[in-house]
């Protein structure tokens, strides 16, 4: 474990301590204890900038389950460092903001900060892991912790619904992603991303290339709220605003972007990757922008705007992946502009969207509402909030001189460049991208304008608010001010980031294009002559203003009034169908009758085992080499059979118990005959304890009653019991013959040779139990313990009819 490992799991370690801080230091807001960690981590990760900007990477390995190829490897390169800085940097600001946002008097802060730290650690794990399985584990922890955060106010039905929705969708994606990772393992025999990239030929030539890619992209698209999986993101806005600012704009939703960027060297350069990502991205971009215009709630506008911007970044990653096809080297910016724009916009989006969410939270906190139909005239009452919002919105709309302008211009340039690609049918469909990009940008401009003018201009009407409206306390303003200033600083001095963060991140997305010692050209400037991108921006502003001015006309249209995403209906129907379907299955299967359960279990095993044996032609009865059966064995066997058959005809409970006891003791006798004293002893003792149990419960049991059943029912039972009996006999007999055919070496030899040598015991059975397979034993007794707990719960904590569950 190196410092880097400890840094990755530090949030989890701190999370364990949070309940204690909450309990024993009530007078101090728990957030102050949390704040230290992301700050320290941020400074720690800053120290890696010189390393990655000089083109180096750091890799520290700790074996976890080496036999399965799972190593807890942390890997720092430009891309992961960029994300780690975003996570810890924005994390610090969000924690600071939350200290003022959540009151320590009436909020369950311990829960909040535990979940937040869990999330932070998981996110760091996702971006720093080199091993796909470890990445997957952290990935699912982000899903779980984010749904916990969404349902933080769990007494509201909307919160729990939103949490469930995000959980369903992101975990669905996560599981298919695991499938994709497994396919990658099948192709390359490793889980390490770096080794996969090194052996990329194995992947591209494999027939599993496309399935693996689609499965992994499902994970990325669900996490990054791409169309049509975006519907969870607006509902996730039920979470407290610091959470929205953190998870749903700056970090978690970008995990999908990260994954796509990280795996671009593996899948990039193929037509499928190019088209799937670009098309899904551009659809999301346009759809998100359309939906955002229709919203009336500040946070909903921001949520759909996030969806749209994520689509933008995704489009750019898709378009940029084409540069791997050409293998052009670092000088040709025609192809790499898109990746540059993606990385730059990622940073910019985190800054302006973070600050916008925080100001939306401030407005909600201080006025009690987020409805743009109620808000208005806040410019003079909340001057600082107004200024930050203005900067954020202008940046999001793509106005100079803010950072959003720069990346928006590059976005246009990237889409225009893409029309010149002579590959993947771009000659015919290429114009799609700049046109859709331009349309979406106009809509973006419009919703930014709506948000700005509806909130801050107009006449202030105090009767619209339930509370006294005033500017937020200073502490709550620090974080948005910092982010707002970053928007301005990155806008005015874009090259501050160019070679420290952006270039190393590009180098990790497109590693194979660089010769050793070579760098991408990342000159970002405000003025680069009158080109198509600039004309497009001017067009966006002009058309955007016209559309906004005509808002009175189109705000009456049904298009504007339908706020809810039509895809939600699909989801709702799906969920209710799932519930009623599973209820139907449950009703058919869980009848409460032991007989029915046995019918299902035995029937299933007959079908499954019978088919398998038949399919592999495994019924083999070998009478030639069977050993002889001594007379007393015949006697034991006959008594066995007799006792078993007689059970069916016994109609007194005590007799039945005695007969079952006979079978048990005969089994013990068999163990003795076959020289297994340990098993025999266990069997005897289990029989004894069972007898005691019977004695104790006899008093409660009703008399045995012979039930008369229909003939058809009896015949079915007869078939099933005959089937089970003959099938298992056949399996037992065949296994003897097959074992000889297959020449399997008996594993008992190993234990005979090594139990004294390795574990110091002569009793092989015991040595296996406590040493060679100790984990099995441990988990078996754990199961027993759970069973005992189950009995205690069923009997002692029985439901008495009152509301005490």
């Amino acid at each position: 474990m190196t410092v880097l490992h400890w840094a990755t799991i530090a949030p989890f370690l701190l999370a364990i301590l949070i309940p204690f801080f909450y309990k024993y230091a009530r007078r101090i807001h728990t957030g102050w204890f949390v704040l230290i960690l992301p700050l320290v981590l941020f400074i720690y990760f800053l120290s890696y900038i010189p390393v990655t900007s000089s083109g180096d990477t750091i890799m520290n390995s700790v074996p976890w389950v080496p036999s399965l190829g799972i190593y807890f490897d942390v890997y720092v390169d430009g891309l992961s460092l960029l994300f780690a800085l975003l996570i810890t940097g924005i994390g610090t600001l969000v924690v600071l903001y939350s200290i003022y946002y959540l009151s320590k008097k009436n909020e369950r802060l311990n829960n909040f900060y535990v979940y937040l730290l869990m999330f932070m650690g998981a996110m760091l794990g996702v971006v720093l892991s080199d091993n796909l399985i470890v990445l997957y584990v952290f990935w699912e922890v982000t899903s779980i912790s984010s749904s916990l955060l969404i349902s933080y106010w769990f007494h509201r039905e909307k919160s729990t619904n939103g949490a469930q929705k995000s959980m369903f969708i992101t975990v669905f994606g996560g599981l298919s992603m695991l499938g994709g990772f497994s396919l990658l393992y099948v192709m390359t025999d490793t889980f390490s991303i770096r080794e996969i990239i090194a052996n990329v030929d194995l992947v591209t030539t494999s027939s599993l290339f496309l399935p693996a890619m689609i499965l992994i992209l499902l994970g990325a698209f669900t996490k990054s709220a791409q169309f049509p999986f975006h519907i969870w993101l607006p509902d996730a806005m039920e979470a407290p605003t610091p959470v929205s600012a953190y998870l749903h704009s700056a970090t978690m939703v970008k995990a999908g972007i990260y994954l796509v960027a990280r795996l671009t060297p593996v899948f990039g350069g193929s037509a499928e990757w190019f088209w799937i990502i670009s098309l899904v991205g551009i659809t999301t971009l346009v759809w998100g922008a359309i939906s955002a215009v229709r919203q009336k709630d500040l946070k909903s506008i921001l949520a759909f705007s996030t969806v749209s911007q994520l689509g933008l970044i995704m489009t750019l990653l898709g378009l940029g992946s084409a540069s791997l096809y050409f293998d052009v080297g670092a000088e040709d910016t025609l192809y790499t502009t898109a990746i540059l724009a993606a990385v730059f916009h990622l940073i910019n989006h985190a800054t302006f969207k973070g600050s916008l969410f925080m100001t939306a939270g401030i407005i909600d906190h201080e006025t009690g509402t987020r409805d743009i139909r109620k808000l208005g005239g806040l410019m003079t009452i909340m001057p600082i909030t107004f200024t930050i919002s203005l900067i954020g919105l202008a940046s999001m709309a793509g106005l100079p001189p803010f950072n959003g302008f720069l990346s928006k211009e590059m976005f246009f340039e990237g889409t225009v460049n893409a029309t010149q690609f002579g590959i993947f049918n771009m000659e015919t469909w290429g114009m799609l991208f700049p046109v859709l990009a331009w349309v979406a940008s106009v809509l973006t401009f419009v919703y930014c304008a709506i948000m700005f003018f509806k909130t801050f201009t107009g006449k202030f009407k105090p009767e619209n608010y339930d509370v006294h409206v005033h500017e937020a306390p200073f502490g709550m303003l620090i974080s948005p001010i910092v982010l707002g200033s970053l928007v301005v600083i990155f806008g005015l001095f874009p090259n501050l980031l160019a070679y420290s963060l952006i270039e190393p991140a590009m180098a990790s997305i497109l590693p194979n294009l660089l010769e050793p010692g070579q760098q991408f050209d990342v000159g970002i400037s405000h003025w680069h002559g009158v080109n198509t991108a600039l004309l497009m921006t001017i067009g966006v502003i002009v058309v955007g203003i016209v559309i906004y001015l005509m808002m009175k006309k189109w705000s009456k249209l049904p298009f504007y009034l339908k706020e809810r995403d039509p895809l939600n209906r699909l989801y709702d129907n799906g969920v209710s169908g799932l519930i009623s379907g599973s209820q139907a299955v449950t009703r058919a299967q869980m009848t409460g009758s032991l007989r029915d359960y046995f019918v299902y279990m035995c029937g299933f095993s007959i079908l499954l085992l019978g088919y398998t044996m038949y399919r592999y032609d495994a019924f083999a009865i070998d009478t030639a080499s069977t050993s002889s059966i001594s007379p007393f064995m015949w006697i034991v066997a006959l008594v066995f059979i007799g006792a078993t058959i007689s059970i069916a005809f016994v109609n007194h409970r005590i007799t039945a118990v005695i007969v079952i006891g006979i079978i048990g003791f005969l089994l013990a006798l068999l163990f003795v005959i076959f020289r297994a004293p340990d098993l025999a002893l266990t069997q005897l003792l289990v029989e004894t304890v069972t007898v005691v149990l019977f004695m104790l419960v006899f008093y409660h049991l009703p008399d045995l009653q012979r039930r008369t059943a229909k003939l058809r029912f009896n015949i079915l039972n007869l078939i099933i019991s005959l089937g089970v009996g003959s099938l298992f006999t056949a399996i037992a007999v065949s296994s003897f013959a097959l074992g000889q055919d297959a020449n399997f070496e008996s594993i008992s030899e190993f234990f005979i040779e090594n139990s004294k040598e390795l574990a110091g015991g002569y009793n092989m059975v015991n040595v296996i139990l406590v040493d060679f397979r100790g984990l099995d034993t441990l988990l078996e007794v754990l199961v027993l313990g759970i069973a005992a707990l189950g009995v205690v719960t069923l009997i002692k904590l029985r439901f008495t009819g009152r509301e005490d569950v």
Binding site: V692, L775, V781, L784
Partner: protein, 144 residues
């Protein structure tokens, strides 16, 4: 559960003696387990059956007086002991549940093998005793 009537002199007298024999035998089985038939699971079951016999012959009160443990807690103690054995080896840098053994010269007993499997097995022993008694007594004490 209807209690057995209190005039079972035979049963009680025999139980007093037999319980100790069974208990000592179960201890023997437990310690012998590594080299001869026996071990934590069997020893635990044997002990449990001795205690159950006591319960049958006398009643809950007597059993509680003789053995003032909480049998549910015994399960967790046993599990913790078994897991603890595994974790201890991890702290020393070996994989989970690596077992060690060595031979020592002890007074009276002579040369003896001591192994880390013993505390592990003791954990299993305790869990089995705890489970058997918890399940039986919970069912038996249920008066509904």
């Amino acid at each position: 559960m209807k209690q057995i009537k209190s005039n079972d002199v035979m049963l009680r007298t025999v139980t007093r003696v037999v319980t100790f024999i069974i208990l000592s035998f179960s201890l023997y089985l437990f310690f012998a387990g590594h080299n001869a038939p026996g071990g934590g699971f069997i020893g635990g079951l044997m002990t449990a059956s001795a205690l159950l016999l006591m319960y049958l012959a006398f009643d809950m009160k007597t059993l509680r007086k003789a053995l003032p443990f909480d049998f549910t807690a015994l399960i967790s103690i046993g599990l913790l002991l078994a897991i603890g054995t595994g974790v201890t080896t991890m702290l020393l840098g070996y994989p989970f549940l690596t077992q060690f053994f060595a031979y020592f010269q002890l007074p009276i007993i002579g040369e003896t093998e001591l192994t880390t499997a013993l505390p592990f097995d003791l954990g299993i022993f305790l869990v089995v005793v705890g489970i058997a008694l918890t399940i039986t007594l919970t069912i038996a004490e249920d008066d509904k």
